[in-house]
Structure formats: C-alpha cells, structure tokens
Symmetry: C2
Subunit: 316 residues, 2 copies
C-alpha cells in the first residue's frame, strides 16, 4: 500500500504535460476552438491564453477549473483572451478563495476591472494582475517547481511568448542504499542537497555513490502569434517541446508575411535551428480542415513535428 502511495506521489510529482484546449486561429469553429492550453507541472496548472469557450473546453477535458493558479495571456487579440472574464467569473461563482494570478500586457487589467465594475462584482478571491513588458524577455514567474520567462515575438501587435521550465530536481537516493537503513528526514534532505552520509558506524558514503542524477529539468515554449523571427531561436534552444504557430501552408507565405504569421515550414525551421526535441504546430487558418498536408510540409524540415488538436494531451 505504502509502495503504491509512493509510486502515485512519484508519478504525480513528475507530471509535465500540455493539454490543447484550442488549436485554431481567430475565428472559433465547431471542431476547433481558438488559443488556450493548460500546462500541468507537478499537478500545478498553468493556463496559456484563454480564448472564448476556454471554461467549457476545460470541463470537456475534465480539468478542474479551481486547480488553475496562473494564467498567462500572450496578447490582447480577442482569440487569446475573450474567455478570461467568463473563467474569472465562474471561479468566483463556484466559491474560489485561492489567489488567481494573471500575467498579461497592461491594458488587460483595466478591462478586467471595468467588467467587474459593470456587473458590480466583488470577487471572493484575490485576483493578482502582473503587467508584462512585451518588449522584454524576462522571468515573470518563479516557484519551487517552475519558472516562466517571456519571449518577445514579432507580430503586427505586441505579443509575448512564454517558456515554462521545470526546476532542476535534487538527486535521487539509490534504492539499494536505502534498503535496511532508517534515515531521518534531516539525513534525506542533506543527501538530496549534495552531502555525503556518515552511518552510525562512522563510515562515510560519498554522495555520488549513494545517489543518481535526477531527470533533467524539462521545458515547454509557447510561441503564439508571430512571423518567422530568428531572435526566438536562442531563447527556445533545446526545449523539450516548442509550440510554434503555423497559420498557413507554404503556398501562402506571402499572406503569412503580410499578416505577421508563420508557415508550417517556417515553424519547422525555427525548431530545427533551435535544436528543440519536438515541435507542436497550431493556430491554423480556418481554411485548413484537414491538416495532414500542413504537417507533411513541416516534417520535410523537422521530422519530430506534431499537430495541436483540441483535446490532445502531450506528456513531456
């Protein structure tokens, strides 16, 4: 039983997943909602963008609304934030008391306050707004488990992408070493912090002999709306998963450039040059129903490419 609990805790504590709530561009479609994603890091939920319908998409994907603690809005085009007021209000109506943190460009704070004022709503929970600077690439969130850093993107409008990085885990104590010993909590903490262990007989066990290296810290980068933009490359270098918008196929490269969006091949080129592990495409123009051809184009440049589709869950 204890072993099962430990296994469960171990599994939980290691979660790093992305759930796609909306994979489409500006216009909501019945089969494809606009941008929203939930990132689960060690069972803490982070929402990236919040288009109209996000709260229903959360329900549909059986994600507990109240577990969301931090919401990051990449920019103030409606297909990235028109679901925010609905979610804020529903969390209030369902009795939330925990803080909710919203990270976005400055004008959104006033919009939130005006909407609350229009409905004479005094939220039951603290809503903490963090204004982010669209011109900077800087850490905007930091906790024991993860950090979030902004990525200045290149759209016809200020847009911030985000990288969420898991904190480096401490080393794991080897099972063989633990067998037959009773370590105090203090011993555990010391060893995990890198100390050697002196056993009751006075024997010194070198830290490197009794531990093994932890899983490498994982990272996910979210580049929502952007033209092909090489300054992104060093910022997302080597991430485990890069989400990069791919609004158009290559025959519409001129459209993409004119609208400051990317083609699938441009997204794949960024992925290749940045040496990321996997690429996730999204923000498809409503003109593309079947996405296989768009995927095929990207894979000619970067084979480890996936299609974001509403409801898809990707484990990192």
């Amino acid at each position: 039983m204890l072993a099962m609990v430990a296994l469960f805790l171990l599994t939980c504590s290691m979660t790093f997943s992305v759930t796609i709530l909306g994979s489409g561009a500006a216009i909501p479609m019945l089969h494809r909602n606009p941008s929203a994603q939930v990132v689960n890091v060690h069972e803490k939920l982070f929402l990236f963008d919040c288009a109209e319908g996000t709260q229903l998409q959360l329900r549909k994907n059986r994600i507990k609304l109240q577990k969301i603690g931090h919401i990051f809005i990449s920019h103030l085009h409606g297909d990235h934030y028109y679901g925010l007021m609905g979610l804020i209000t529903t969390l209030h109506l369902l009795g939330r008391t925990a803080e909710l943190h919203v990270y976005a460009h400055e004008p959104l704070e006033k919009l939130i306050l005006m909407n609350l004022d229009a409905s004479q709503t005094v939220l039951r929970y603290p809503l903490v707004f963090h204004a982010i600077d669209p011109s900077a690439g800087e850490m905007v969130f930091s906790s024991k488990i993860a950090t979030v850093t902004t990525i200045p993107l290149n759209h016809n409008f200020p847009v911030s992408g985000f990288i969420i990085r898991e904190r480096k885990s401490p080393p794991n104590i080897r099972k063989e070493f633990l067998e037959g010993r009773e370590l105090s909590n203090l011993d555990y903490r010391r060893i995990k912090a890198g100390a050697d262990y002196i056993d009751p007989e006075g024997k010194v066990h070198a830290n490197e002999d009794i531990t093994r290296a932890p899983m490498p810290a994982r990272a996910y980068a979210y580049c929502s709306d952007t033209a092909y933009h090489e300054p992104v490359i060093p910022l997302v270098s080597g991430v485990d998963l890069l989400y990069h918008e791919a609004t158009f196929m290559e025959d519409r490269a001129a459209d993409a450039a004119a609208k400051f969006h990317s083609t699938a091949i441009q997204a794949a080129t960024i992925a290749k040059k940045a040496g990321v592990k996997r690429l996730l495409l999204g923000h498809y123009s409503a003109r593309y129903r079947d996405l296989e051809a768009l995927l095929a184009e990207a894979r000619t440049v970067f084979p480890d490419t996936l299609l974001a589709q509403d409801g898809l869950v990707i484990e990192l």
Copy 2:
C-alpha cells in the same frame, strides 16, 4: 414555378420564431449554455442576450451570423454579454460591412470601445450603440416589420426585458377577386391601404368585400433575470409567447427571493395573470439536470408551458 416562389416568399415573410441558444443560468455547462436567443421576424434576425459561446451556438444551429442586425442585451451580468466581443470581432473578420445595432445599458459601450482599442481593431462595419434606460419601459427599436420595447425587471441589478412585436399586416386581397383581373402595383397598394377599388367598367368594390383580415400581429416577451414582479403583467399582457426565467423550483423560493430570481410557479403565475398564450421557462440553476419536475410545477398553474432547451426552435 411562380406559385412556388410566391409560396416561398409568403412562408418567409410570415416567419416569427425563437431559437434558444442558451437556456442556463450563470455558469456555462457542457449541455446548457448561458442566455442567448435568436428571434426571427420575417427573416430579419434579432439576438437577445449574448453569453460566452453564442457565436458557436449560432453555428451549431446553422444560423447565419451576418444576418443578425440587432442585438439586445438585457443586463451587464457576464452570463448575458460575455460572448458579445467575440461575435463583434468575428463579424468583422468575416468581412461584414452592414451596420450592427447594439442596445444595452450605457456602460457596455465603453467596454466595447476599450476592447476594440486594446486590440487596435477598427471595425469594417458601423457598430451603432443605443443606450437603453433600465428604469423605463419604452420603444427602443422600430421598423416596418417590428418594434422592440423594454420592460423594467426587478433584479438585484438593473435589468431590462424586451417585447418584440410584429407590425400589424395590411389586409390580404381575396384570391377570388384577383382571378381574371390585372391590377396595377398602385391598385394593390391602395387596396392594401384600405381603399375601395373601381374597376375599368366603373363598378365600385368595397374594400371589406375584396379583402380579408390579416393574421393578427404576434408578440414575444423576454424576461431574463427577475424576481416575481407584478408590474410586468400589464406590459406582457396577451403576448403569444412569454419567456420568463425560472431559476429555481418552489422548495427554493427563499433562495429565489434572496437572489432576485423566480421559481417556475412564479413564472407561471405571471403568465396566467397576463393571459399570455404560451409560457417558455429558462435560466435554470445548474443544480437541475432533469427539468421535468420544474416543468410540472409550472404546469400546475399554467398548463401551456414549455421548457427552453439549447437548440429548441419555437414558431409563433
């Protein structure tokens, strides 16, 4: 063929229907969206309230978004307007050029403008905002086919209900009279305006002999969020269909009173006292999954009661 076209035009011109896009209360559910309804009067579309998700509900019910000319928002609680910005933006992105008229309480205009400003959007079409006075019962819209009048409701917040009334049709010219005659357009118009007809032989045909009374003008009343409120009764007297919120069942009458909502029996009592033809219930609390018991309660007072459910179309 001509007869078919005429029949089609006749059928179209006589449409008066209500399509329920959302029948729930404040919290959107997978099976029940918050408040929004489309009223079709002679193929002109009027939207009553516009909760989050309304544009997708319009698509789901195969209603052409661009056919909506007038949007009436009953009040500024989010479950009645959080879908408005999304709809306004989508109409723009789809290339609308026709005017869109929005009727709502005054603070909504500023919210719309601030959202457009935040996204640096200059709409391709004229959006005309009409501020309505929540304390008045007054005509806010008038055209050749219909009028819309507000109904001051009794909520813990300013709320306007709406009555949409078809204009009285002109009399119909009897088929028997038309057979074998060739009337000019002017003759048609004169007879429909009540004039007698003098035929080429000089014979006078009295208007009442050659016409028959038109269909009586129909009316639909929409009472969105309100406590039991008898001043509504004379205003909705005799309408063909009364939508009245029924958030709770009778065992929660105290809840209803405290929250300025109604029970199903209270809605039915208003319908009975106002002598309406049919009653349509809606705005159900999320606690009620199965609505049959709620309907049964209303029918003890007013048998001609229907349940609003998402996707229901009611012909008047």
